[in-house]
């Protein structure tokens, strides 16, 4: 059974193709995603999972096709409006993308500073998110000396701190041991239960089974191989 089946689609892809030079990374993808869905993107390394997420927040432009986010056509987003589009997303990057010379607190706070939030709110909100992700004690540490799992959690904290309606997570458990991975998944699940739409890329199909509901999108060589509904 599909949740929220009555709502308008929040993400729509029409025949999306992405080429890097001559290399095909996404091949004619058409897909509708409803608000509040949990989308699991699986497929082997190099299948185009990261690229699929990147075209959504315009880190890359599509070569062909159209993408609508909440009714906005991404092809028509000007560079001046781009930052505002990106603020609707929370992103967990495959390589974390933490700023090395800023503390954990500052890395997470950046999202809110960029959006012009008040310092008092920023402090409260960031500390709350760090508490939830279990990184409270490391708030004043620089990210580099932290373990992969800890950096991953900081990345997740940054993705959720702005309370985005859509969370894009690119292999958020990729470098984690089972326990840490479970913790990150639980976190994302919590935000999902609060109503966020989540797209999570992973080459680890096992993890899918932890979610009570959602859809699994299988990519292979940039082509959509199948969509299955997860039912437990």
């Amino acid at each position: 059974m599909r949740a929220n089946s009555g709502k308008a689609n929040i993400i729509r892809l029409f025949n999306v193709t992405k080429r890097y030079g001559g290399k095909l990374a996404l091949n004619d993808i058409t897909l509708d995603i409803e608000p509040g869905e949990f989308i699991f993107i699986s497929g082997p390394s190099g299948a185009g999972k990261s690229t699929l997420l990147k075209v959504l927040y315009l880190a890359e432009r599509v070569s062909e096709g159209q993408i609508l986010i909440d009714g906005m056509n991404l092809a028509r987003i000007s560079s001046a409006k781009l930052p505002f589009l990106r603020r609707r997303f929370g992103m967990v990057f495959q390589d974390f993308k933490l700023i090395p010379n800023r503390t954990v607190f500052e890395n997470v706070a950046l999202v809110l500073r960029v959006a012009g939030e008040k310092p008092s709110y920023i402090k409260k909100k960031v500390m709350h998110v760090l508490r939830v992700t279990g990184m409270e004690k490391k708030a004043n540490h620089l990210p580099q000396p932290l373990s992969g799992g800890e950096q991953q959690r900081v990345a997740v904290a940054r993705a959720v701190v702005g309370e985005p309606s859509i969370i894009l997570a690119d292999e958020p458990t990729g470098s984690l041991d089972r326990e840490s991975a479970q913790r990150v998944l639980d976190l994302l699940l919590g935000y999902h239960q609060n109503g966020a739409t989540i797209l999570m890329a992973s080459h680890n199909i096992e993890q899918m089974n932890r979610f009570s509901k959602g859809r699994n999108i299988i990519l292979e060589d940039g082509t959509l191989k199948g969509i299955s509904t997860i039912l437990c």
Binding site: Y57, A59, A80, P83, F84, L85, R86, R87, M91, F93, K97, L98, I99, P100, N101, R102, L110, V111, R113, V114, A115, P119, R158
Partner: protein, 291 residues
Amino acid sequence: MMRFLNKVRTDIRSNRFLNIITIMTIALSILLVSVFILFFENASRILSAWNHGGRAMVYLSDSFTPAMLPNVKEQLISMGSIEKMVFIPKTQALERLKKEMGSKIQFLSTLQENPLPDAIEITMTAHSSFEQIQKAAARIEALDIVDTVEYGQGWLGRFLKLFNLFKMTGYAMSGLFLMIALFITANTVRLAFYARQTEVEIMRLVGATDGFIKTPFYVEGLLQGFIGGVLGMIILLAGYLTLSSGISRNLDAYVYLDIHFLSWQAVAIILFSSTFLGWFGCFISLKQILK
């Protein structure tokens, strides 16, 4: 706000060497420019004082008779730029001379004929610039009834030529140094920007506008410009104090020297300009980098 300033401070620290170079360059060019300004401000005031503030003596030829005075005055007025005219008949001039010389020179009283010419002392309206006086004097001298016009043109004129040459060199060098400072400032910003490229890229990805990204660079540019300007002014003031006390101790007895430091308006303009320089270097660089 405090956090923002703290961030700027750590940013500056992480690029400390470059920033010091930039501040020093700005300070040096500002120093050079202000040395010239200081020199010219003083030199032109002293020149004008030596020239009695735009006064000149028009010595009339022998054919002049007092009856012609209204006519001559009219001719002078028609030349324009004359503010005041005082006729000094030769008898009065002789009296004045006698009084000034006192009893020292006996021969004056033995003179049978007055050797002095009649004269008109004129004050020109445009006495701010020595060149204007020079031009007006040449025109007056061309009149038939006028013998010569005296305004200290001899050595003062020659000095003026030198002065002008110096002034041109000063402008050229100041311009050159300001360009160099601008170039170095712009370059520092560029390097700082590239050093923070990952950071900037991440900021973009989480939704930072160009304005948000640029602001710290501008703050840094403005600060560097301002600090450079203040530094330049401090060096100038120190140099001025050392030199001026030496000059007045040694020369005051011989010549009239009225030396001042830059007016506070000039200091304000210089500080504003150096701050602007820091900002402008930033502007050029970011405009280029961010398209």
